[in-house]
């Protein structure tokens, strides 16, 4: 690995030691974050899959009801029946912080509390199949909104997990080994310097003894 050149000084050494300390601590924290995110993500994804299968089944049923309704009514009456909806759905969006990911929390309210307001037409000129179709759609609405919440959370968490994993890997495989290598280099260099000073001093001492006493 190509190691960046560093000054072999004591100051640099203590700086690098501090850096290594921070990196190791950060690595441990990020690893914990990744593991916990992953655990929650897997739970959420399981829920997401189950919800999606349920919702898709519900929509399939509603759609087949609508096709039946369409078959027994003229296009115009059907259009007129659904032209002016009585009911409206409002969503309030809150956020829940899971391991620094803001996942959305949806709760919905309808404009009127009367659950029969989903039928925006008189019953005289429309077929009963239309009622069934609208009812079956309205039955899956809570699941549909829950699905939106869970699926969005999954997407956001997946992105965060990917980011965290990259950070963990960068610290583990690049940053930490590189810093360790630099620290080793400086320690060796300083030791070498000390040894060379030592031998120089010994040599000087020998020379001085030689001069003074003729040893």
């Amino acid at each position: 690995m190509a190691v960046k050149q560093v000054n072999p000084t004591r100051m640099e050494l203590s700086k690098l030691k501090k850096k290594l300390n921070t990196a190791t601590r950060g690595h441990k924290l990020l690893k914990d974050k990744r593991d916990e995110l992953m655990r929650q993500f897997l739970e959420l994804v399981k829920e997401n899959k189950a919800l999606r299968i349920r919702v898709e089944e519900g929509i399939r049923k509603a759609n087949s009801d609508f096709v039946l309704a369409k078959a027994s009514m003229s296009d115009e009456t059907l259009k007129a029946a659904l032209l002016a909806p009585k009911q409206e759905v409002y969503v309030t969006q809150g956020f829940k912080n899971v391991m620094s990911v803001d996942i959305p929390q949806f709760s919905y309210t309808t404009r009127t509390p009367d659950e029969n307001d989903i039928y925006s037409y008189g019953f005289a000129f429309t077929s009963a199949d239309l009622d069934d179709a609208v009812k079956s759609l309205s039955d899956i609405l809570p699941d549909l909104i829950k699905l939106a919440e869970v699926e969005k959370s999954c997407q956001l968490m997946a992105a965060e997990i990917e980011k965290t994993r990259r950070r963990v890997n960068a610290l583990e495989h690049v940053m930490i080994p590189q810093t360790q290598e630099q620290i080793r280099y400086i320690v060796r260099k300083l030791d070498e310097n000390e040894r060379s000073t030592q031998t120089r001093l010994m040599k000087v001492k020998d020379m001085m003894l030689q001069q003074a006493h003729g040893y």
């Binding site: 898709e56 009911q87 759905v89 969503v91 959305p104 179709a133 909104i145 919440e149 699926e151």
Partner: protein, 105 residues
């Protein structure tokens, strides 16, 4: 207070308008992309359901909002049947997070 939009071909989404969701119909690919962009930038909607059939041409736009906190863009099957795109989007999330799709292998 936010609202919910449904985007797709007429047959698939007109039922949702009875429930009080805002239905938007597809017309032609170029117009759809424009309409969808407008829908996404509209701050009034926090959830947008898109039929799988309509999502094919809107893939790029949908991808852009995958990592945004809002709006949530969710695929639903249309009247023409289920293409499985919705479930495979979930699998893609798993693949992104875990590295491989551990639920379907």
């Amino acid at each position: 207070m936010y609202k919910i939009a449904v985007f797709g071909d007429k047959e698939s989404v007109y039922g949702f308008s009875a429930l009080g969701l805002d239905a938007y119909y597809t017309e032609s690919p170029e117009k759809d992309i424009l309409a969808f962009k407008k829908l996404c930038s509209n701050q009034n909607y926090s959830i947008i359901y898109v039929t799988e059939a309509a999502a094919v041409i809107l893939e790029k736009e949908i991808e852009k909002f995958r990592e945004e906190p809002s709006p949530a863009i969710i695929l639903i099957p249309g009247v023409k049947g289920n293409t499985g795109e919705g479930l495979s989007a979930v699998s893609r999330s798993v693949e992104k997070a875990v590295g491989s799709d551990i639920f379907n292998s």
